[in-house]
């Protein structure tokens, strides 16, 4: 008897024919009840979509962090007056500049102050930042001079300026053919352009709006701005020194020199940490939505499969009568469930990539396609399909063929 069965071993070892036929028939059967199938898919689509978005956004943020690292270096910090500090104490230029002498871990400092303003050219207006900067500012921010030169120590109190890329564009469009050496009038003073900057990426520790800015010597700014307060000090720190040590040094210094002034120090590392935390919150949210949707979707799929099994009892009975083994029936329904979930997974992957694209777009970050997340999406769909199809498929396989035939 068993020997007889051995004689009739299937011709193709891996059951490719059956798989092929099962696949086609499962697709047809799902398409036949597409309304019901679609309803079951919504959960899977949202679930997979969230998971994909989560992983993709994680990748995008990570890449962004790496980019900012590379751009600016991790040896940059910013120092700001603490929010709790009263208005009376201000950063003092001399005190700031001398910190490098007293605290050896601080290599370079670049204090700056900004003031929003507007310039007019004929009828056209351009809103921009006026920034008072030191020579070191250009180096710390890795600014590239396209034409002319940067602000130097020798320009103290002079009405010179270096213009950002967008401001240069504006000047060109409004009729200045030779920008270098031309004059810009801002807040009633005429500044001579001594340099033009390349476009610079925003974000990280860099001050906001540098592409639209005109940069003037900090000494000039301190004399001409309506509120001549140094808002921020950028600094380069010594490598391999802990940020805790740096912070202690800086607090100590300003505490002593500036009548107990409290400062807040932000490092590139902390910024990246903050970015990652933000991303984690987002991921957590998406992860929660994803898991819940996958559970709901999985139950939906299981339900659809159970309905399908009970509707097709006579088909199951017939197939058993024609020689289908229990395992054949089981794999038939498993395949159907997996196809259902893969279809949902496919739509979900598109949705997830769409979400992460929008996230990158609105964060002004570079979008990248995460192939890992696509593979993950298909993987998770398959697992959900197998997991949720298992019980219905087993129910189908264990049906009494006679009862199934007589129904």
């Amino acid at each position: 008897m068993r020997a007889l069965c051995e004689n009739y071993r299937r011709d193709d070892l891996f059951g490719m024919t059956l798989l092929q036929v099962n696949f086609r028939e499962a697709s047809r059967s799902l398409w036949g009840s597409r309304q019901r199938s679609l309803l079951a898919l919504i959960g899977i689509v949202i679930g997979i979509g969230s998971v994909i978005a989560m992983v993709s956004i994680g990748t995008i943020v990570q890449q962004e962090a790496v980019r900012q690292f590379k751009d600016m270096g991790i040896d940059i910090i910013t120092i700001r007056k603490s929010f709790s500090e009263n208005k009376k104490t201000e950063f003092n230029m001399d005190i700031i500049m001398r910190i490098t002498e007293e605290k050896r871990n601080i290599l370079t400092v670049a204090p700056y102050l900004t003031s929003g303003t507007e310039i007019n050219r004929g009828r056209q207006k351009f809103s921009m930042e006026q920034m008072g900067v030191t020579a070191s500012f250009f180096d710390l921010n890795k600014l590239q001079i396209r034409q002319g030169r940067a602000v130097s120590e020798l320009d103290q109190n002079r009405y010179f300026c270096v213009v950002g890329d967008e401001l240069a564009d504006f000047l060109r469009k409004t009729g200045t053919s030779k920008i270098l050496g031309s004059q810009i009038t801002a807040e009633g003073r005429a500044y001579t352009v001594i340099g033009i900057l390349d476009k610079v990426a925003e974000g990280g520790l860099r001050p906001y709006g540098m592409n639209k800015a005109m940069m003037i010597p900090i000494s000039t700014a301190l004399r001409t701005f309506q509120t001549p307060e140094i808002s921020t000090v950028m600094a380069r720190i010594a490598p391999h020194v802990s940020i805790t040590q740096i912070k202690a040094d800086i607090s100590d210094y300003f505490g002593k020199k500036a009548r107990g002034m409290q400062v807040e120090v932000t490092s590139a590392e902390e910024l990246i940490e903050r970015m990652k935390k933000q991303m984690q919150m987002f991921s957590l949210l998406l992860g929660a939505i994803g898991s819940i949707s996958l559970i709901v979707g999985g139950i939906g799929v299981m339900n659809v499969m159970l309905i399908s099994v009970s509707e097709r009892k006579s088909e199951i009975g017939l197939r058993r009568a024609l020689g289908a083994q229990q395992s054949d029936i089981q794999s038939q329904f498993l395949i159907e469930s997996v196809i259902l979930c893969l279809a949902g997974g496919f739509i979900g992957i598109i949705l997830g990539i769409g979400i992460s694209y929008l996230f990158a777009f609105f964060s002004k970050w570079q979008f990248i396609m995460s192939y890992f997340s696509i593979a993950l999406g298909f993987g998770v769909s398959t697992v959900v399909g197998v997991f949720c199809g298992f019980y219905p498929a087993r129910t189908a396989a264990r049906l009494d063929p006679i009862k199934a035939l007589r129904s």
Binding site: M1, R2, L4, C5, Y8, R10, D11, D12, G15, M16, T17, L18, Q20, V21, E25, R28, S29, G32, S314, E315, L318, R319, R320, A321, L322, G323, A324, Q325, Q326, S327, D328, P401, I402, L405
Partner: protein, 226 residues
């Protein structure tokens, strides 16, 4: 023994419905010779279908032994039973039981897909068997596009395609009008006569039974030769 296609000895089967036990088959002995066309008649509810399910390995008897094509059936392994069904038995049902979403050709293919034969080969063979039952023109039609008689022909092609040891037909003309029923019976006779296929036909129509080589009666779970 050589000439025996199947033999059952003292087969009994009862169902438990609530507290009562319904005895459906009460000790049945039956042999079918190779190349025989046997009819089984009996009134409704006498146990004909149960016997056919037994012969078709879909049902396990409470007691008794069953030999088919020289081997004794052992009922403990689904894989073995399914393989035997696939290789040895061809079923024809009163309600045709074609799969509604498949074409005639695809319906006929089904038994062979469980043998893992290449699809192209299966389809070729399927068309061959559709031709045998004169249904080659309807190969791409679905069951709801065919008449009852045509559907039953497709079902017969499906029963034949695996070259089984025996065809088991349970009231194959029960859902057909007299003329179509006769055509279907003619087909069975022709297959038996020309190709030597062993056929067991279950019917409650004594007229049809008498045309067959031999017939037996089932009454209330007991078998009587005519």
């Amino acid at each position: 023994m050589e000439s025996l296609m199947l033999s059952i000895v003292d087969i009994r089967k009862s169902y438990r419905v609530g507290p009562t036990e319904v005895k459906v088959l009460k000790g049945i002995n039956l042999t079918v010779e190779k190349g025989e066309l046997l009819a089984i008649i009996g009134p409704s509810g006498s146990g004909k279908s149960t016997l056919m399910h037994m012969l078709g390995l879909l049902e396990k008897p409470d007691t008794g032994t069953y030999h088919i094509d020289g081997t004794q059936v052992i009922y403990d392994d689904d894989r073995v039973l399914s393989t035997l069904r696939n290789r040895k038995i061809g079923f024809v049902f009163q309600q045709y039981h074609l799969l509604p979403k498949l074409t005639a050709l695809e319906n006929v293919c089904v038994p062979l897909t469980y043998r893992g034969i290449k699809e192209g080969e299966v389809r070729k063979k399927s068309l061959e068997y559709l031709t045998k039952v004169d249904m080659q023109d309807r190969a791409n039609h679905r069951p709801n596009e065919m008449s009852g008689g045509q559907q039953q022909r497709v079902a017969i092609a499906r029963a034949l395609i695996g070259s089984p040891a025996i065809i088991l037909a349970d009231e194959p003309t029960g859902a057909l009008d007299t003329k179509t029923g006769e055509e279907i019976m003619d087909l069975f006779h022709r297959l038996n006569r020309e190709e030597g296929i062993t056929v067991v036909i279950i019917t409650h129509n004594p007229g049809l039974a008498e045309q067959c080589g031999r017939y037996v009666k089932i009454i209330d779970g007991m078998i009587y030769s005519a």
